[in-house]
Amino acid sequence: MTANLAAYSTSTGEAFQFWVLGTVAVIGALCTVFMRKAVHSALCLAGTMIVLAVFYLANGAYFLGIVQIVVYTGAIMMLFLFVVMLVGVTAADSLKETIKGQRWLALLCGLGFGILLFAGIGHASIQDFDGLAKANAGGNVEGLAALIFTKYVFAFEITGALLITATIGAMVLTHRERTERARTQRELSEQRVREGKHVPPLPAPGVYARHNAVDIAGLLPDGTPSELTVSKTLRDRGQIRDVSADALRDLKALEQRAEERLERTKPEEASK
């Protein structure tokens, strides 16, 4: 394997692996961008990252390949999934463009930039690859360690400080100081009675058995949906399904189907 790393051209096996996994990585990247739901995007990205980890290994970066899997796919992507779970599916997931001309400009810029990068790489006409045989002779991890703790020791120290800072920063950002004692259930009910508003428990969602789901607003006697019946979190996310017009819509569809059938029979009768 070390001999292969030094060559101008790789072994057939690596070439095969590159073309297959490279295709997978590009598809994963494209899916990351174009998947409607953030969860799917995250999963596609994880796939791409695993492919990249394999490429690292193929390029002689054994340590990085493992780290890529452990840190990126293992930790960072899981963090992403956590946040997706916290935030939930939002209206922002829609792929519909709201800024005029943004999509075209973005594609134009992306295309131009890609062409430029390709041109740059092609222009550089890189031919000789030294390979890592010599550098990895004493072991990849040992080689990296030697560099990190000698040449790059200050950068290493600083990144350590950066990690600490980031940790504290994340805590500060997400932590909410409670300025007052949490109110007990008794106090809450007393307040409700005092205000005279919603004295009984809030109405339950899902009016009919058919639609017995928490994301469906219960209907008031006049047929309009009441948002009060839906959980606040769902309300905030705008994830309320409106079924008030469902019955009418069903009826209309039924009528239409009936009509179509009648019309179909009519021309048949006419033709006969």
Binding site: Q102, G120, H123
Partner: protein
């Protein structure tokens, strides 16, 4: 002794300051403070005069340098005074007649509750006028000049509750501004031409001819014409004469002060003081004589038609100042006589105005002469003093006006050539008209049957003699009217007195002095006779008859206001309107167009700043692409 000069101005200035800043506490004694300080100034003037008489004619120029006012580079303006024979004459006239008018005002303004303020303004007027005649450079003179304008504005509009008085004050101020522009331009021209505007180096001192004559004649003519414009404004000469008639809205002592001692004499002073400039610019001199001649006839004709006693006298003043300007324009032949007539005129015109004020005082402030008549029985002192002033002004032999006016007419003829004949003729004609309108005033006021009637509220006027505080100044002035001319002329005293300053030359008169005197006498009798036939023999109607075309024109001041209105006001309005149009369409168009195009462009550019982070990211990404492209290009090259 020379240090007393500043005291001349300081006394009335102090009076003005004390009276105007002192507040109500001084209401009771205000008139006394004002009068005493004016009189103090007169006393100082007399002391200085006595001192001056004691010196030889060459040493009679006193100077006092107070401090350097502005000194920037080679621009240097000092506050300093120069008291020579010319200034001395004016100082005596201003303080003397001024003090008498102060005394008169004590009685005249007795019932006016704003009396203290009135005396403050009077003192300010005196101080400004004294500063004007005592300044040793044109810039300081300009300060006095503006001070006179301010004081006249305040005094003409003293009864500001009357809209007519407020308007008259504004009119006087505005018309004077036109003249002031002339003076300021003249000063600027002097500085750019000669590098100085001090009298000493510019006009020359005893034995040292000034540099005023060194410039080109064109420049001197320009300076002269600008000075003349200034003089026209202050001295109410055509074409800036229109304010004088309306200025009668002020209290009568103010009219007397403006017409006799201050204000209108400033223009004559300016021309005579700038003799060195005018002597070197004959064209400017010619214009001065023309202005004087035209105003002389203009004022006289206006004076003939007015029924308002004060306005008739105002026309007379205009005419008499016209005589002086005419004389001043004649050059060295006439300077001395211009000043001499100014002094005698100061006496009799002050006397006449005070007399008119006395008449009004006794007639419930009525000014229409058609409602007077036969007053000689009721006001004997006023009648006699006014009569003596009348005889003096028409040039009755032996009285003041006779000597001074006669000399001017002679000097006009002595100018020589066609000009001399025309100017002399005009002056003679003016003498006849003067006799006519003054006789008319005299007869309508003091002779004939009484024509006054109860006013709208049923108050019948009770003509009575004025208090002694008013009659004494009139008597003193009457003495001046009678004897001043003769005193000045015996042995050519006035001529010798003033000659070192103004210079004098006997012209080459084509007619003898005796002929001129006789012709004047004949015309005088003719003018007075016509007036007697018109007003003395037949009764005077209480309402004015329609009159001839000329009379109607003269009643309207020969359409001077209409002319100003049509030519200046309307013209100005049209000019302004067209300028506004140009401003709105062209200037604003360019400005607004620029603003609108910038605004429009910004509106378009603003859309780029839509606040969306993604839009900015596109720009960043595009920029990065361009950078990469540039790098690649540079490497490829």
């Amino acid at each position: 002794m020379e240090n007393l000069i500043a005291l001349l101005i300081a006394a009335p200035l102090l009076g003005a300051a004390v009276l105007l800043c002192g507040g109500r506490r001084l209401d009771a004694v205000g008139q006394w403070i004002g009068t005493v300080l004016a009189a103090a100034s007169f006393v100082v003037a007399v002391v200085l005069f006595a001192d001056m008489l004691g010196k030889s004619p060459e040493d009679r120029t006193f100077t006092q340098h107070l401090y350097s006012w502005i000194a920037v580079g080679n621009f240097r303006a000092d506050v300093g005074f120069q008291l020579d024979q010319l200034s001395m004459t004016f100082v005596l006239l201003i303080t003397g007649v001024g003090s008498l008018i102060h005394v008169y005002s004590i009685g005249y303004m007795e019932h006016d509750e704003r009396r203290r303020r009135f005396f403050g303004y009077l003192n300010l007027f005196l101080a400004a006028m004294l500063l004007l005649v005592l300044a040793d450079n044109y810039l300081l003179l300009y300060v006095g000049w503006e001070g006179v304008g301010l004081a006249s504005y305040l005094l003409i509009g003293f009864w500001q509750h009357k809209p007519s008085a407020a308007t008259a004050a504004k009119k006087a101020f505005l018309v004077n501004r036109v003249g002031d522009m002339g003076l300021s331009i003249a000063i600027m021209l002097m500085f750019t031409t000669f590098g100085t505007f001090a009298f000493g180096p510019l006009l020359g001192t005893e034995g040292h001819p000034g540099i005023a004559g060194d410039a080109t004649e064109g420049k001197l003519t320009a300076i002269g014409l600008m000075l003349l414009l200034a003089a026209c404004g202050k001295s109410a000469q055509v074409p800036l004469q229109s304010w004088l008639g309306d200025a009668m809205e002020g209290p009568t002592p103010v009219s007397a002060l403006i017409h006799a001692a201050t204000m209108v004499t400033a223009g004559v002073y300016l021309i005579v003081r700038s003799a060195a400039v005018f002597n070197a610019a004959p064209d400017a001199q010619l214009v001065v004589t023309v202005v004087g001649g035209v105003t002389l006839l203009f004022g006289a004709i206006v004076g003939c038609a007015k029924d308002d006693i004060k306005k008739a006298l105002a026309g007379s003043t205009m005419s008499q100042i016209g005589y002086m300007v005419l004389a001043a324009g004649l050059g060295p032949i006439g300077y001395v006589f211009a000043i001499m007539h100014l002094v005698t005129h100061g006496f009799f015109k002050a006397g006449l105005f005070l007399g008119a004020g006395s008449v009004m005082h006794g007639m419930n402030d009525e000014v229409d002469m058609r409602k007077f008549g036969g007053l000689r029985k009721y006001m004997p002192v006023t009648f006699v003093t006014f009569g003596l002033g009348y005889l003096a002004i028409i040039g009755f032999p032996g009285l003041s006006g006779f000597f001074s006016k006669d000399k001017i007419i002679e000097a006009a003829f002595a100018k020589g050539g066609t000009e001399g004949w025309i100017l002399g003729g005009v002056a003679l004609l003016g003498a006849a008209i003067t006799a006519y309108y003054m006789t008319r005033v005299m007869i309508m006021t003091f002779f004939g049957e009484k024509r006054w009637q109860p006013d709208a509220e049923g108050h019948e006027p009770h003509p009575h003699e004025s208090p002694s505080s008013m009659t004494i100044p009139m008597i003193v002035l009457a003495f001046g009217s009678v004897f001043a001319g003769g005193f000045f002329s015996i042995g050519d005293r006035f001529l010798h007195w003033l000659e070192p300053v103004t210079g004098h030359s006997e012209g080459d008169s084509p007619v003898s002095a005796l002929t001129v005197t006789l012709a004047t006498m004949v015309l005088l009798v003719v003018g007075a006779g016509i007036a007697y036939l018109q007003y003395g023999r037949s009764s005077v109607p209480v309402t004015a008859p329609r009159g001839s075309l000329l009379t109607r024109a003269a009643r309207r001041d020969l359409y001077q206001d209409d002319f100003n209105h049509v030519v200046l006001v309307r013209g100005g309005e049209h000019l302004t309107r067209s300028l506004v149009y140009v401003d709105h369409t062209l200037v604003d168009g360019v400005v607004n167009g620029t603003a609108a195009s910038v605004g429009g462009l910004s509106g378009r550019l603003r859309k780029l700043q839509n606040g969306y982070a993604r839009s900015y990211a596109v720009s960043m990404f595009g920029g990065a692409a361009i950078l990469v492209a540039a790098t690649l290009l540079m490497r490829a090259v």
